[in-house]
């Protein structure tokens, strides 16, 4: 009972705050657009030669890239959303949640879920735009893609929350996030297939939750995937659960000293 109430109200709070902070929203949507337009259109002419589609599992490059943009939007939006924990530290609202009798797990899961829902909505908006750029995407893949997106978002909001519980300044947190964002994006199969990567990059890609979200969503949106789609969803779920559990554990132990 107390669990549900606290979970629900934290979702309510995160969504309500999201609605009143539009500038952050804009950046996380603009970023993927810039990538798909400049990177995508630029490279799609390079990969114009006969047989090039074989590199991308039979897709033309713009479709290949466009099918990864929803993952990118959700990944970036959810990872950085952890910064709101630091704002809450600075503005004091975090204390209000630390001293509440509601289960801490409910508070943090509600918070992560609220932020996840908002980033998935952003991802959905980007996906709609991608249909204009890459008309080959499959409409029936949208719902499964959004479900994968929600798992991805839960994973990275949780990681963001865990990190921001350990940082007291937004600068420190943003530095870490920026440091991790680019490598994780490049080692996820969004821009080029994992199979062509050097071994050490492959190793990172295999433990990167984003990899499985990208591959799984690409499967639903284009029919092409690198892994068995069942592995994708299983591994994404496992990695997401691990990251979520870490956030719960960290918050359960949190004091105002952190």
């Amino acid at each position: 009972m107390g669990f549900i109430k606290a979970f629900y109200v934290m979702v309510y709070r995160q969504v309500k705050r999201y609605v009143s902070a539009r500038s952050r929203v804009l950046m996380t949507v603009v970023n993927p657009l810039i990538w798909v337009v400049f990177f995508g259109l630029g490279w799609s002419n390079v990969f114009n030669f006969p047989g090039a589609t074989a590199i991308f599992g039979g897709l033309n490059y713009i479709t290949y890239l466009a099918s990864g943009m929803i993952s990118m939007t959700i990944f970036m939006g959810s990872f950085i959303s952890g910064v709101s924990v630091i704002w809450d530290k600075q503005f004091g609202f975090l204390k209000e949640t630390l001293v509440a009798p509601a289960p801490r797990s409910a508070i943090i899961l509600g918070r992560a879920f609220g932020d996840s829902v908002t980033t998935v909505i952003q991802g959905g908006m980007i996906l709609a735009l991608m249909f204009l750029i890459a008309p080959g995407l499959r409409v029936e893949g949208v719902i499964p893609a959004l479900i994968y997106g929600l798992m991805l978002a839960m994973g990275f909001t949780s990681l963001g929350i865990t990190l921001s519980l350990k940082f007291s300044s937004t600068e420190g947190f943003q530095m870490i996030v920026n440091l991790l964002t680019m490598p994780l994006l490049f080692m996820s199969g969004i821009f080029y297939p994992i199979s062509n990567m050097p071994d050490w990059m492959k190793a990172v890609a295999y433990v990167n939750p984003l990899t499985y979200a990208v591959d799984g969503m690409r499967y639903w949106l284009t029919g092409v995937s690198n892994f068995n789609p069942l592995y994708d969803v299983a591994l994404l779920a496992i990695l997401t659960l691990a990251l979520t559990a870490l956030a719960v554990r960290t918050f359960e132990k949190a004091t105002i000293e952190d």
Binding site: M1, G2, K5, A6, Y8, V9, M10, Y12, R13, K16, R17, S20, A21, D88, Q90, F91, G92, F93, K95, E96, T97, L98, V99, A100, P101, A102, P103, I107, T255, I256, E257
Partner: protein, 325 residues
């Protein structure tokens, strides 16, 4: 047996380079208003944070509402309300939403919650601002909202960390009124911290004076002040005064030809007796005044420093609600 609402036993909290709380013990009875009075850096907030389960003591034990704050934090949390020294509202949300979120986190919902929110917003005179975002509130309005919020779930023990810090005199008095009526109407136990002597005297049934992590004296305001012993009565008479003697008079000095300074243990009982003694000697009184030693004098007595000086010397700046970015 008295049931204590709060028990602190030998609390110690060490941060990297400072001992913020150094062997603090006290007990607060149910329904009492207990004050921690001390200068900046005395360790008041740290003590409150330990009692409200959001900071682990380095050693020592504490019980709030009968539960151990380290072992049963969830139980303690369900029994307490707190107004933090620093703001803890969500500025992006309305006053109503701040209350609503709090209510849900404390297991309330439905019409009961809604009615309670409006009742409390009315109590702190913020009802008309219910749907205004908190970032547009003044410091006093925020403080009142935080108090209303802390009362929403009807806590058994209410912690108020510097409830009137940085507020103007009228707002302070208004907040004192709220605090007194909470005690009267709900018999809530209140633990408050302050570095204002007048606040401690006005509100608290008992006061612990804290300095440098230690409680250096404890008692009612009267008891603390009587540590200094005497009170001074000034008596102005019509014509030439001469000193009087009686068993309740410790010392009598003629400071001006028509003014006597009479040192006694307790002025409130001595004044009527003094009247009798003086009229029997044919001295006609025109004016009587007496000065009680204040808590500030008690602090000087205990530490050799003024409470006010101590405030300045530790110089941890107090910012108001932090600005956005």
């Amino acid at each position: 047996m008295v049931e204590y609402a709060v028990v602190a036993e030998n609390l110690i909290k060490r941060f990297k380079d400072v001992v913020a709380v150094n062997d603090v013990s006290f007990k607060v009875e149910r329904g009492e208003i207990f004050g921690l009075l001390g200068p900046n850096g005395a360790g008041k907030t740290t003590t409150i944070h330990i009692l409200t389960t959001i900071l682990k003591p380095t050693s020592g034990k504490a019980y709030v509402a009968g539960y151990d704050v380290v072992k049963e934090p969830a139980k303690v949390r369900s029994k307490i309300g707190i107004v933090f020294q620093d703001p803890s509202l969500d500025n992006q949300l309305t006053a109503y939403d701040n209350m609503f979120i709090h209510g849900r986190l404390y297991g309330l919902n439905g019409d009961a919650l809604r009615n309670k929110i409006f009742e409390l917003l009315e109590f702190v005179e913020l009802k008309e601002f219910a749907n205004k975002q908190v970032r547009y509130f003044s410091g006093g309005m925020r403080r009142r909202l935080e108090i209303a919020r802390a009362l929403l779930h009807q806590p058994d023990v209410l912690f108020l960390d510097e409830p009137t810090l940085g507020l103007d005199p009228q707002t302070r008095v208004r907040i004192w009124d709220y605090i007194m009526s909470v005690k009267k109407e709900r018999n809530t136990t209140i633990v408050l911290t302050t570095h204002y002597m007048d606040e401690a005297e006005e509100l608290c049934d008992r006061i612990a004076i804290m300095d440098k992590g230690k409680i250096i004296a404890e008692g009612t305001a009267e008891e603390l002040k009587s540590m200094l012993g005497s009170e001074v009565i000034y008596v102005k008479v019509v014509n030439n005064a001469s000193c009087v003697e009686a068993n309740f008079i410790e010392k009598c000095v003629r400071v001006r030809e028509n003014l006597l300074e009479v040192v006694v243990k307790d002025a409130s009982t001595a004044i009527p007796k003094l009247f009798d003694v003086m009229t029997s000697k044919g001295l006609k009184i025109v004016e009587v005044s007496y000065r009680k030693p204040t808590l500030n004098e008690v602090f000087i007595h205990l530490t050799g420093r003024e409470l006010r000086d101590a405030l300045e010397e530790s110089g941890r700046p107090h910012l108001g609600p932090r600005a956005w970015r």
